[in-house]
Subunit: 257 residues, 2 copies
């Protein structure tokens, strides 16, 4: 099982869009793919027309087990998306209450790792969407993943916030046996604007080969797909945005060096 | 003192951009303006070149007082931005730890209201930026404000998330003596795309006169201002984005009906 998490404390940088784009492409290639929505706001869950406010079974149930997860629980929470080979473990807005209990209960940082250990033979790829906040849910995603993708908008505020994300990651990596490899992916890139080009150069100057060699361009087809409630590759496999995500998938599947 | 909060649980919809644009314009008109950054990620603080990771005095200090705020504390946390009449009470990344203690301490929802009661005669307008998460910091902003502005990107996922925000607000309004008036402001509007126009229509169909009569267009000058670290009106008072924020300010200052 390959476990990829997508995280960034900055909001609106394309985390959910990255999860659904890559997951759709991996499923199209014949892999059994599970998406996990750990964002209490539930964008990924809403994307596929499920309601994070009223869903009865969700990732929240995993955190109600005080540490020992029953073997049959994870599979019972998973729903089909209608896209072949693509399943979803939805979010519930109740996830927002977990932060408050994290202090009292302790040890909540490994709930998702334990869940994926139970599901190990069921899926080839698991893609985890996380909220734009450093808290117990993001920690779970960072602790469980084997590869981290950090989408960054090519503009000042988003790059400023990246420093913090990279520092957080370095801290978490110290506590892990094996550090998580991460890739910084420039998103919402608009080649017509000066600001995008300047920011991309400064991103590469600062982070060097931690930055993916290409970019995800602005492509309204990616928005149209969320309006239609289908994975972007199902809407238009030849769209610029999808072609870029295909090349990102290639880079992740065949890391150089 | 007029207290405006800008909030939305969806990330990247232009909350920080709205705070800095309106605050700059109100300051240019001769008002004494205070911006408050309640986002642990500290975009507004970084915008003005202060570092949320290392700032010693911040909004975090207000929450360390277990309920009774010393009269001289709020003013001691405020810094100048270099823009005339515009001050900032910065965020610290330590704000991210508050959620965990909120459960144990209780009554943390009114810290910002109590702070502004102390600063009442010092400022004409206070604009509060909040994180994209429903938690103790957003609750503080909603409890303290007299007017709420909800920026919404004109696209499906952002509109879907709005339902939850409006429901949250209705819930909080029940606990307040006087309900908070709120205005939904369409942002990042790109009149060239079908998706923007369609979404705007559906927004108005659903929320009627809760939606501002105009829109904030996509304007790269707003991004350029954050790269330059100055309020957008100082960069270019005639930019499309700033003209739109001027008209929003008018609507807020002279509400119809
Ligand atoms: N490459 C792209 N081209 C055009 N639109 C995009 C692109 N990537 C993302 N978007 C749009 O930008 C908005 C933000 O994207 P998304 O919701 O994926 O970000 P996020 O980081 O998951 O946000 P949040 O912090 O709220 O979780 C959405 O409306 C999405 O459709
Ligand atoms: N009208 C606009 N035109 C062009 N760019 C914009 C506009 N409004 C916001 N932006 C840009 O979009 C990005 C997101 O805006 P901003 O950071 O203000 O959103 P936010 O809601 O505060 O995000 P977060 O959820 O992370 O706090 C920023 O890069 C900002 O410069
Ligand atoms: Mg998201
Ligand atoms: Mg912000």
């Amino acid at each position: 099982m390959h476990i990829w998490a997508v995280a960034n404390q900055k909001g609106g940088v394309g985390k959910t869009t990255t999860v659904v784009s890559l997951a759709g492409l991996l499923a199209d290639a014949g892999n059994r793919v599970l998406m996990m929505d750990l964002d209490p706001h539930g964008s990924l869950t809403s994307y596929f027309r499920f309601d994070p406010d009223s869903v009865e079974k969700s990732a929240y149930n995993l955190f109600q087990t005080s540490g020992k997860i029953p073997a049959d629980l994870p599979a019972s929470l998973i729903i089909k998306t209608g896209h072949p080979n693509l399943s979803l473990l939805p979010a519930s807005t109740a996830l927002a209450t977990l932060e408050r209990h994290a202090q009292a209960q302790g040890g909540m940082g490994l709930v998702i790792s334990k869940t994926l250990a139970i599901l190990w033979d069921e899926y080839d790829y698991v893609l985890i969407d996380s909220p734009p906040v450093l808290g117990v849910l993001m920690i779970n995603a960072l602790a469980a993943c084997k590869q981290l993708i950090i989408p960054v908008q090519t503009e000042f505020l988003a790059i400023k916030g990246l420093e913090r994300m990279v520092r957080t990651l370095t801290m978490i990596n110290r506590a892990r046996k094996r550090p998580v490899p991460f890739l910084i992916v420039p998103t919402l890139f608009d080649r017509r604007t000066q600001a995008s080009n300047k920011s991309l150069r400064s991103l590469k100057d600062t982070y060097d080969d931690l930055v993916w060699h290409s970019v995800i361009p602005v492509d309204t087809k990616l928005r149209d797909a969320s309006t239609a409630g289908i994975a972007p590759s199902a809407l238009d496999p030849n769209a610029r945005g999808i072609k870029a995500y295909e090349s990102l998938m290639e880079s992740l599947l065949n890391p150089v060096g």
